[in-house]
């Protein structure tokens, strides 16, 4: 369970996150949406401390993630993060990308890590690419490897920061497919995404953000049928026009 309590963040004078107070339940699939510059990415990046906050508190499973003496590496090892730009390691093969962290962090022996990585690659449909280097893969394939790489640490929580925004339209589906699978298995997921179809079908809840605030939180049924906040109505109308 992730609990945010009056979280504030500034970039200089710019108030990027304003008094964010919300919670994400275990096994919940949450979609965060909103116009660009609304603070969605900033928010999701605070959850594994890729971004620091200026005030407030974030608790994950009852632990304050800014507590003194907290091992930030151990925190991050338990939270998978998928980037918009994939960020695979280009000097390593697909399989090595997936085994690097578990082996170097002593979570698994080389053999165990390879076994598990192969299972994960199988699952994202890329076992046959195990020895390929990332630059030989399409964007959609790279993002699926990135998901497998994150899963290799067996994290109970996965964060997705616009995982399909850098993809050609025909590759979006294969990545969402993998994410749907994860959601079906009860993974706790926070997804910043513009894929409203995914939100509608898979999400348990939607947060709508603008100007650093969560303006609306609702089930996807409520949100899409009956958005309450004018900004959310505007946002959805713009989406439909696309």
């Amino acid at each position: 369970m992730i609990v945010l309590d009056k979280v504030n963040k500034y970039y200089g004078d710019y108030h990027a996150l304003v008094d964010i107070t919300e919670r994400v339940e275990n096994n919940e699939v949450l979609v965060v949406c909103g116009p660009s510059g609304s603070g969605k990415s900033t928010l999701i990046r605070t959850l594994n401390r890729l971004e620091e906050i200026d005030s407030g508190k974030i608790e994950i499973d009852g632990r304050d993630i800014h507590a003194r003496g907290l091992d930030v590496n151990a925190l991050r090892a338990g939270i998978g993060f998928v980037f918009q730009s994939f960020n695979l390691f280009p000097h390593l093969t697909v399989l090595e990308n997936c085994t690097l962290a578990p082996v170097k962090l002593g979570r698994a022996t080389k053999l165990e890590a390879r076994d598990y990585a192969m299972q994960l690659l199988e699952r994202v449909g890329l076992a046959h690419k195990r020895d390929a280097y990332p630059n030989a893969l399409s964007g959609g394939q790279q993002q699926r490897v990135a998901i497998a790489r994150a899963l290799a640490m067996r994290p109970p929580i996965m964060l997705f920061d616009e995982p399909t925004s850098a993809l050609d339209p025909e590759m979006v589906g294969e990545v969402l497919q993998v994410m749907r699978g994860l959601a079906g298995e009860g993974m706790t997921m926070v997804c910043v995404t513009h894929e409203m179809g995914f939100a509608r079908d898979v999400a348990d809840r939607v947060w709508f953000m603008a100007e650093g605030k969560i303006l609306e939180q609702a089930t996807p049924q409520e949100f899409f049928a009956n958005p309450r906040h004018p900004r959310a109505q505007q946002f959805l109308a713009d989406r439909r026009r696309d």
Binding site: F89, H91, L100, A101, K104, Y133, A150
Partner: protein, 233 residues
């Protein structure tokens, strides 16, 4: 010219060795090699320190880099050879002096190469390594530096080539490296200056060009798995 080579090749190669100190081409190669072997880890360390998020670490290194870059190697050689013994009372040999100066210069220039490479690497590389739970050191070691060094290989070889050529400055403090020896030979023969210095020039060329080619081949072998550019698109 053949007679010249026939008479002096051993002197050219090793100086007065074994009667005197080792010199000539072998000394030049040994000095350059030792300088790079010592400077490489130092340069790596300084380079990482140069881009450290902690100013207490990065600022002194930045200062050192600026100073060393702005001073001619020859001047530092003078200082270390003539001035330092006066202060410390310890007289260092020409070879040791040269090696020390080369290591300082090389490590600073290598540090700049490493630092530039680290800055050029997409930020997402460090971020994704850190978000998997790797610490800063592990992320540098396994993700950032392997890519930095691979991309920086041409510049590193460039630096090694410079080092080989820089050893010729040892001539000034009487270090019997290959240029010094060539001058000695020229004095002995007296009438064949063109030939002597042509052979010297050829020697440097073969050494440096050979090294560049070697690096080129190495680079081609490493080429395959790079191209982070593709990933960013």
């Amino acid at each position: 010219m053949l007679e010249l080579i026939d008479t002096y090749w051993l002197y050219f190669l090793v100086g007065q060795y074994p009667q005197g100190p080792l010199g000539g081409l072998v000394l030049t190669i040994l000095l350059s090699g030792a300088a790079l072997v010592l400077a490489m880890p130092l340069g790596l360390l300084l380079g990482v320190a140069r881009v450290s998020p902690y100013r207490a670490i990065s600022l002194p290194v930045a200062g050192l880099v600026q100073v060393v870059r702005a001073v001619p190697l020859l001047l530092v050689l003078f200082w270390v050879y003539f001035f330092l013994p006066a202060v410390t009372g310890v007289k260092t040999s020409q070879a040791t002096t040269m090696l020390m100066v080369l290591v300082v210069f090389d490590s600073v220039y290598l540090a700049e190469i490493v630092a530039a490479g680290m800055r050029a690497l997409p930020k997402g590389q460090l971020e994704s390594a850190r978000s998997l739970g790797l610490g800063y050191g592990a992320a540098l070691r396994h993700v950032v530096l392997p890519q930095t060094l691979r991309h920086g290989l041409p510049s590193i070889v460039n630096q090694l080539v410079s080092t080989i050529k820089a050893t010729s400055l040892g001539y000034i403090i009487g270090l019997s490296e290959v240029s010094f020896i060539a001058t000695q030979i020229n004095t002995l023969v007296f009438t064949q200056a063109v030939e002597v210095y042509l052979i010297l020039a050829l020697t440097y060329f073969i050494l440096c060009f050979g090294l560049s080619r070697l690096a080129f081949l190495l680079e081609r072998r490493l080429q395959r798995p790079t191209a982070h550019l593709v990933q960013a698109s």
